[in-house]
């Protein structure tokens, strides 16, 4: 079976270091990593078995040797089209689902996309953070005010300590709660769903034409 985007006859091989995607000739270039050495893989032509049916096989290859290193090797190889089939078998159902033109599904997808960006409680947390920041600010002002009053002899030491302790308690409580809320996972920033779907649709369209 020939899959769209299959590795052409020249194949791919694994490289280490900076990814090279200049040729853009191979569907999975830049995405595949060798399971053995962890290096990026790239396409490479590989000669088949000698004989009358000898042919150039498109392969994904992991190689720490070759042009990049002389003291280590990794000869992990994978059959290009078969590996791409496996990857596409996972990706295409997702893409086909999200690019479905069924109205109900599209509307549900929009709702789900929106919900991801506005998880339950996110708005409440934002309001709570704003309120706590105001409370912390007021507590700091009260601390300053207590010190001024004491310095101006408008309150005695006992009065100053009461004001200071109360303001300090409020400040610490607000800061502890602020720290807790700031640890909550941020709301993800996602691109416009329609733009994503248009791009995904190009993949489906391309495969459908073949």
């Amino acid at each position: 079976m020939t899959l769209p985007g299959s590795v052409p006859s020249s194949g791919l091989r694994c490289t280490s270091g900076v990814p090279r995607q200049a040729s853009r000739r191979y569907l999975l270039t830049g995405l595949l990593y060798c399971p053995r050495c962890g290096e990026r893989m790239h396409g490479n032509a590989r000669m088949g078995r000698p004989g009358p049916t000898r042919s150039r096989l498109p392969m994904w290859r992991s190689s720490l040797s070759g042009a990049l290193s002389t003291d280590s090797t990794c000869a992990w190889l994978a059959h290009g089209p078969r590996l791409e089939t496996v990857v596409l078998a996972q990706v295409l159902p997702l893409v086909e689902t999200v690019t479905s033109t069924e109205v109900g599904l599209r509307a549900a997808l929009h709702r789900a996309w929106q919900a991801i960006q506005e998880p339950a409680g996110a708005a409440t947390s934002a309001k709570a953070i704003a309120r706590l920041e105001q409370e912390a600010g007021r507590a700091r002002q009260r601390l300053t005010r207590a010190a001024v009053l004491y310095a101006d002899a408008e309150i005695d030491r006992h009065g100053y300590e009461l004001l200071r302790d109360q303001a300090h308690t409020d400040l610490v409580a607000a800061e502890v709660e602020l720290e807790r809320l700031s640890g909550i996972a941020p709301v993800p920033k996602l691109p416009d769903l329609e733009a994503v779907l248009r791009q995904a649709g190009r993949l489906v369209d391309r495969f459908a034409r073949r």
């Binding site: 769209p4 985007g5 853009r24 000739r25 191979y26 569907l27 999975l28 270039t29 830049g30 995405l31 595949l32 990593y33 060798c34 399971p35 994904w60 994978a78 059959h79 078969r82 590996l83 496996v86 990857v87 996972q90 990706v91 997702l94 893409v95 689902t97 999200v98 599904l105 549900a108 997808l109 709702r111 789900a112 996309w113 919900a115 991801i116 993800p188 996602l190 691109p191 769903l193 994503v196 791009q199 995904a200 190009r202 993949l203 391309r206």
Partner: protein, 51 residues
């Protein structure tokens, strides 16, 4: 080819293949944030359909 790759790059961050037997593979896909979001969104639509 370039257009297809652009789509895959939007969705996939990394693929680690595994040979399960001769000439048979499985692939561990690490999705990009957009890919993950789409997976979650699709899962959400499925949950809504079941409910």
């Amino acid at each position: 080819m370039a257009a297809q790759r652009e789509v895959l790059i939007v969705l996939i961050e990394r693929i680690v293949p595994e040979r399960i037997r001769r000439a048979e593979y499985q692939a561990e896909i690490s999705w990009t944030p957009i890919g993950k979001a789409l997976l979650r969104a699709v899962a959400g639509t499925m949950d809504a359909a079941v409910a």
